[in-house]
């Protein structure tokens, strides 16, 4: 069997059994990248030399029995907004084109402790701002399922790399749907954990109160394994949680008997593509057959989630991105007169259009005289949305809906109308505003052959319910013979 067909868990077992070496796994990935990445452009940086050196080291440790975890020796791709010590980290921006971090993100370090081998850094929307991976300074990524379509975003490179088998799993980050939506578009499993579960230390911030790192994988099992590996209480991140319930693989149980599913009517109204609607409801039907109870309800406030999200995320981004000023690191304009001209030219030349749009939007909503009307109102809306979810989770174990209103759009269709693009985030942003976990699992394809994803949302700290539900669904579909 072709090594690339394995899931991360399967490959981990083969490596441990000595049937596949770490080097062979890496070489298979590099050959695949060589073959496909000119077309798909999943990677900004591929670290062949570093990965092979690391592979040799990991191989030794596995043979010595000091590395025994399920991910030991398995090649991984990391979104390019997570610091990797000594390996260029660009955030898909010109302004960080030559930036080499002095330390690795905590999530990356956790993976390294688990024996992962980093293949390279994946493409994304610049500073994670976008839903298509088209705002990257390094060119758009293409959807491996249909290359004239986008892979979604902002973790489009990570989702596409998993779908294209250019890695065995990947890390992404999710501020408003940036893991779940590209997972849906590329037909892979993507999960955003409860805010605070994975350390943000070393993740180059977009919207600090919303950002969360998570896995993009071939199946739910891999997703649980990776999440278990990257979760940790990190004293370097003051928003990191000290959880004792991160044994997520224990939830890989094919049983949803008696679990209560809430279907928010507001997620299935006008604006939702009928094919997506049908596929998601069919998936829910399968879960019902497995013993879950299903009930429709009114979540409410859905239409306020997008404005609240863009106000908060952009406000934080306008401040978070202020440090990219040409003084300390990164791009500096070649010609300027004086300090302020240097700032202006550096940032005008270094940031792309969408990033500048969001910095301006964020600066505006924080300006004196507008702060109350926009920022404070958005914070209040955020609190109300959280309350609406609290109410729902008093009745349901999980909420199920689509991850996006439609399947992947064609390349070039989205950026001309940013408002339309922002509205595409309608089913994902509330989860970030409320700090909840969410997972996307593939649940079919539309008539163009583009993947459709089902999104399962849980209450804070209830990733295990999501994993259980998603795993049960995945098992059910496998038995029905569906191609996953």
């Amino acid at each position: 069997m072709d090594i690339l067909q394995y899931t991360a868990a399967e490959l981990g077992k083969k490596i441990k059994a000595g049937e596949v070496t770490v080097k062979e796994a890496c070489e298979a990935v590099f050959a695949r990248i060589e073959e496909k990445d000119k077309e798909f452009n999943c990677y900004i940086t591929v670290d062949r030399e570093g990965a092979l050196a690391r592979a040799a080291e990991v191989q030794k440790q596995i043979e010595a029995g000091t590395l025994t975890g399920p991910l030991a020796g398995v090649p991984v791709a990391v979104k390019d907004n997570m610091n990797t010590k000594g390996l260029r980290t660009t955030c898909a921006s010109k302004i960080l084109e030559d930036f080499v971090p002095s330390f690795s993100a905590e999530a990356v370090r956790n993976l390294e402790k688990a024996g992962a081998v980093i293949i390279g850094k994946t493409n994304m929307d610049e500073f994670a701002m976008g839903s298509t991976t088209e705002t990257s300074y390094y060119g758009p990524t293409k959807n491996p399922c249909s290359p004239e379509h986008v892979p979604g975003g902002s973790s489009g490179g990570s989702a596409a790399a998993v779908a294209a088998r250019e890695c065995f799993y990947a890390l992404g980050s999710d501020t408003g749907g940036s893991i779940r939506q590209p997972a849906s578009f590329c037909g892979v499993v993507g999960m955003k954990p409860t805010y605070g579960t994975v350390s943000r230390y070393g993740l180059i911030a977009y919207g600090s109160s919303l950002d969360q790192i998570g896995p993009l994988c071939k199946d739910v099992t891999d997703c649980a394994i990776v999440l278990e590996a990257i979760s940790s209480h990190d004293p370097k991140d003051s928003t990191s949680l000290d959880r004792t319930d991160t044994d997520f693989t224990s939830a890989l149980v094919e049983d949803v008997q008696g679990m209560r599913i809430g279907i928010p009517r507001d997620y299935f109204g006008p604006g939702l593509d009928p094919e997506v609607r049908e596929a998601v409801l069919a998936a829910v039907e399968l879960l019902k057959k497995k013993g879950a109870t299903v009930e429709e309800f009114e979540l409410s406030l859905v239409e306020y989630a997008i404005p609240a999200y863009y106000v908060i995320a952009c406000a934080e981004a306008s401040s978070n991105l202020a440090r990219f000023d040409g003084v300390k690191y990164g791009y500096r304009a070649k010609e300027f007169e004086g300090l302020h001209d240097m700032y202006k030219r550096t940032r005008a030349e270094g940031f792309g259009t969408e990033t500048k749009r969001r910095i301006m939007l964020g600066s505006f909503v924080l300006s004196s005289g507008y702060y109350d009307a926009y920022y404070l109102k958005a914070l209040r809306t955020k609190a109300l949305i959280k309350q609406a979810f609290d109410k729902a989770f008093a009745k349901y174990d999980v909420i199920i809906g689509p991850a996006a209103p439609a399947t992947a759009p064609k390349l070039g269709e989205s950026l001309s109308d940013p408002i339309q693009m922002y509205l595409g985030d309608i089913y994902t942003v509330s989860v970030n505003l409320a700090g909840l976990p969410g997972i996307t699992v593939p649940c079919g394809r539309d008539e163009k052959g583009l993947p459709i994803g089902m999104q399962i949302i849980g209450n804070c700290f209830e990733e295990k319910k999501l994993i259980r539900m998603a795993y049960t669904y995945e098992c059910g579909r496998r038995k029905e013979g569906a191609e996953l």
């Binding site: 997570m82 003051s238 440090r323 990219f324 000023d325 300390k328 600066s363 004196s368």
Partner: protein
Amino acid sequence: MSREYETVIGLEVHVELATKTKIFCGCSTAFGGAPNTHVCPVCSGMPGSLPVLNRQVVEYAAAVGLATNCTITQCCKFDRKNYFYPDNPQNYQISQLYLPVCRDGKVEIETADGKKTVGIHEIHMEEDAGKLIHDEWEDCSYVDFNRSGVPLIEIVSEPDMRSADEVIAYLEKLRLIIQYLGASDCKLQEGSMRADVNLSVRPAGTSKLGTRTEMKNLNSFKAIARAVENERRRQIELLEEGRPVVQETRRWDDNKEYSYPMRSKEDAQDYRYFPEPDLPPVVISDQWLEEIRQRQPELRDEKLARYKEEYMLPDYDAKILTSSKKMADLFEETVALCQKPKKVSNWLMVETMRLLKEQEMEPEDMAFSPENLAKLIELVEAGTINGTIAKEVFELVFRDNIDPAAYVEEKGLKTENDTDALREIVEKVIADNPQSVADYRNGKEKAIGFLVGQTMKATRGKANPAVINQLLKELL
């Protein structure tokens, strides 16, 4: 001037806290490191770094709040203040705007005009910026982030002060409170305490506040007094000429005794404050607050009262001894060793203060040990050395912290108490100075002083003057 004016002053005082590490990372706050040696990803604003609050900063801030009668905000928050400048690596400063750690405090000050209360609007925690170093030759600037992230508190007073004297009294009060708490050394010259003066004037008897200016770059109490007087005069002159006072920030040049405008309200920046998303609210539990309260040391006012009561010291002495934490500590430690409060007080009040003034030193810079001062006092009390020698030895104790007992032994400075040996010297002095002897015998009492001096000279200062006096009277 045709009208009487009242001056209204409020102060913003920044104090650098004496923590070992910075406010949001583990880097050292020590002075004097080579540029950019006390830095890490956090305090140099590297992408992906996150702040973690130093608990000691909260404890110091709350301790200052308690000592200034503030209400402690038991759930306070940090906010970001956004502005671009190269000394600020993130281009935002983490500070507190909406929920500062302390609010609504007050301190009592005393001036020649009597006692009054100055209100404290709030105290907030924030981080210091780095330092820019301009290279004139290369026409470029360098940034040193060693100071970036050093913890500060900003103490904002109410506009309750009316004169430079009150401003100085208020600053002295804060300085003593904070020094006693050990929260900072509060040195204006070195910048660990910085005061910005907000000042306006209004016709006496009116209650509406005039337009204020903010004065920066005040590096000493004297500079503050001069700047207050100068700005008061400048504003009154403007009003008298029928011209408006412009709300602006001004910079004081103490050499020229003149201030000039830095920026006006029109070009004031919009800092776009918003809650710091990387730091959760700081919850100061009842228990934690109680712990901080329990640890509060004896403050100046309590110490002053105790000195008068316990050591029977006059008010004047007690005030001087408690005017710096260092002086008070030295006093108490020395008294504990020799049990002679009045003697210790005298040495500190007279000789120590004289030497401090002479050498232009602050009490905080004193480096001699209470053990050596106690030994010196013992030597005098035991009659081992006389007062003159003691003063000489003390200068060395003060300067080099020498062991006075060993020094006296080594240099042979012990008082000559051998009466027979002394009697010979006195006889010789009498023989050598017939004129003085005659004067004395003719009723000129003062002449004996000369003879005592001559005897002291002959014994190289080691003799006990009382013994010489007695011998002289006996032999004459």
